[in-house]
Each structure stands twice: as C-alpha cells, then as structure tokens.
C-alpha cells in the first residue's frame, strides 16, 4: 500500500467512526458542540499518532519485539495511558474551559477502541513511518466524523455552531425564519444516537449509489 492510500483509508474507506463504528461512546457524548469535537480531535490526534509511532518503534525493534510480544497489550496500555495523561495535564493547565467541558471523556481516550485497535492491528506489524501516516489519517478521519456529527447536532439543537470559545456562528435566524425553536433534543443523548444514525444512513446511501453507478459504468 502506498503512503497516499495508507493516509486516505482512515478518512474514507476505513473511517474509524462511520465505517468501523469504533469509539462511539465518547464520540457521541462530546459532540454537543463543534468546540468539544475540535478539542477531542486534538487529544485523539496527539495520542493516536504518537502511540502508533512509539508502538511501531518498539515492535519493529529486533531486540525488543520478542521480549515485548508476550506482554504487548499492557505495553500498549502503558504507552497510551501516558500520552492521555499528558493531554489531560496540558488541557487542564492551558485549556481549562475545554478541559471542564470534555470532563471524564479525556481520560477515557485510554480505552478508546480506535487507538488500541490501530496499535494492535497496524502499528505492531508495520514500519514506524507507515504507522505514523496511518495514525494521522485515522485521527483526521475520526476528527472529521465527530465534527460532522457535532455541527449537525449543535445546529439543530441550539441554532449555533461554536468554533472556539467566543467564536460562534449564530444561525438562529434560520429557525426564526421557519418560525420554530431549535430542537433541544439533538444536544441530549437521544439526539446523539438519532444524529449518528441519520448521518450514517446518508453516507451509506451515497456510497451505495456511487458503487452502483461505478458498476453500471464498468
């Protein structure tokens, strides 16, 4: 697989959220605003890219690999937990509002299936540079997915899109024009599942349509 395909597979073909359906719990919980989604993406990007790189460096080392293999899962967890703790400390120190907003879901990145999954399925069996690119692609794919969900939910639930702190796009006028109120249910847990299901259905319909068109063309 060339590097471009390696990078792009995380965005589309093997998107961790919309295709693999991994790490749904924190993803649905934090997508009440775009700001939360951006913060979560930064955290996951840092952890996923570095954990992939570190684990690949360890597992591709001829001396270390046979020693680590029997205890590889604890090794992955130690590496991932360390990176998540760094993210948590840095966010607590420099991005306190975001830290409070994301709450318990920052430490929960440790048990995010996407990160452990990429470590076991990819980083442990591939070269460091491939693993690094895989991590970047997967993290961006994850980030784009939760940003799409958060824009959908925040717009329908509050009529706004909060990009960062006070930088907010106010779209309440659309609801005023339609003479309805924003649908607060979309920023509640039930709205998370509904939004995810709707977006997934739309994406599946588009993918099916494209593949059918390609078949006819062939």
């Amino acid at each position: 697989m060339d590097q471009k395909a390696n990078f792009l597979k995380g965005l589309f073909k093997e998107n961790p959220l919309f295709v693999a359906l991994l790490g749904l719990c924190p993803s649905l919980a934090v997508t009440t605003s775009l700001e939360n989604a951006i913060g979560m993406t930064m955290g996951v990007f840092f952890v996923l890219v570095l954990s992939n790189l570190i684990i690949s460096l360890i597992m591709s080392n001829k001396f270390l690999s046979p020693l680590v293999k029997p205890v590889r899962i604890p090794v992955y967890i130690v590496v991932i937990a360390t990176l998540v703790t760094i993210v948590e400390m840095v966010m607590n120190a420099f991005l306190i509002d975001l830290y409070l907003s994301l709450g318990v879901f920052i430490p929960l990145i440790v048990v995010n299936c996407i990160i452990l999954g990429r470590a076991e399925a990819f980083a442990s069996e591939n070269k460091p540079i491939d693993s690094l690119i895989d991590g970047i692609g997967m993290a961006i794919g994850y980030g784009l997915a939760i940003m799409i969900i958060s824009i959908f939910r925040e717009f329908l639930g509050k009529g706004t899109i909060t990009i960062w702190q006070s930088l907010q796009i106010d779209l309440v006028f659309i609801f005023d024009f339609l003479k309805i109120e924003p649908i607060a249910m979309f920023v509640q847990p039930v709205g998370a599942f509904l939004s995810f299901g709707l977006i997934l259905a739309i994406i599946t319909a588009i993918v099916n349509n494209v593949s059918q068109t390609n078949k006819k063309g062939a």
């Binding site: 090794v75 130690v78 360390t82 400390m89 607590n92 409070l100 907003s101 709450g103």
Partner: protein, 175 residues
C-alpha cells in the same frame, strides 16, 4: 533467564520511563493548573463579596474541607464570613466535586459555586448550575436534589453537610 521475567522487566522499565516523562510534564503544568484553580476560586469569592471591604486570610481545613477563606471586618478580628472549599466524591473517580460555600456569621448561606468537577457531560455537568435551595447551612431540609442525577446531587448535598457540621464551631471560636 526466564522469558516471562524478562518481559516483566521490560514492562517495568517502560513504566519507569513513562512515570519519569509524566513527572517532567507535571513539573511544567502543575503551577499553571494551580494558578487556574485559584483564578476560578477568587473569581467565585468576588461573586459573593466585595473583597475590598474585608481582610482576607486563609486557613487550612481538614478532611473534606480544604482551604477556608476567612473574611474579617477591616482592622478587627471580627469574622464576618467564611468561605469553605469543600469536596465530595461524585460520578467521576478521578476528580471530586469541589465547591465553594460562603457562610455568614449568622449561618446564612451567602452563595455557593462548583469550582471543579468532572461529572459526565449533559445532566451531570448541568446540575452544578442548579439552585439547591439552601439558605441556612445548618438546615438542609429544603435541599432540592435533581432526579436522575442522584450521584452528583448526593455529592453536592455532602458538601453542604460537611460545611454545616463545622460552620457553627468555626464562628464560635473553633477556627
């Protein structure tokens, strides 16, 4: 040498390296975290009282009670108000619910604010803005908990309860 033992040693060394790395990061972030927490606390104190009108000092509490901010009449030893930093375990294992509760010397509650928590997003976090209807610190009979958010409600009740247990003693000269 036993292979399992060697693997265990590798894991131990990795753990030590990670621990060292975290210590370095903590060295840089801990002062900033403390500064941010103090900023929130002093902003909250200013919501209760105009701090220019008082002599402010701090006393270290015990158990669930952290720092107690003592607000005395200017130039005297007369304690007018105490602001308690108090914590109780809520939904999150890693971060207690930390509150500031301001109590006047007639034991009336001037105000309260949650200054740190890591309750779950949504209901758990929203509850911290709730009016719990506590006007006298020694009387929690009117405490208004929120249904379906029992764990966080209980933590906040416990905070009030802890302050209630010692406020009268503190104002009576026990501080």
């Amino acid at each position: 040498m036993n292979k399992g033992l060697v693997s265990g040693l590798v894991l131990l060394i990795l753990g030590l390296i990670c621990g060292l790395l975290l210590a370095v990061v903590n060295h840089f972030t801990a002062p900033k975290i403390l500064e941010e927490e103090n900023k929130i606390k002093f902003a909250a104190l200013a919501e209760f009282y105009n701090l220019d009108n008082y002599d402010l000092s701090e006393v270290e509490g015990s158990g669930a009670i952290g720092v107690i901010y003592v607000l005395k009449e200017k130039g005297t030893d007369n304690i007018l108000s105490l602001v308690y930093t108090v914590s109780a375990t809520g939904y999150s294992d890693s971060q207690d619910v930390v509150m500031l509760i301001a109590v006047n010397n007639d034991l009336s509650v001037e105000g309260y604010k949650v200054v740190a928590h890591k309750e779950s997003s949504g209901f758990g976090a929203d509850i911290v803005e709730n009016d719990f209807k506590v006007t006298m610190i020694t009387d929690l009979s009117e405490f208004d908990s929120v249904s379906d958010v029992t764990v966080t409600s209980n933590a906040i009740y416990e905070c009030f309860n802890q302050v209630g247990l010692r406020a009268a003693v503190d104002f009576g000269g026990g501080l």
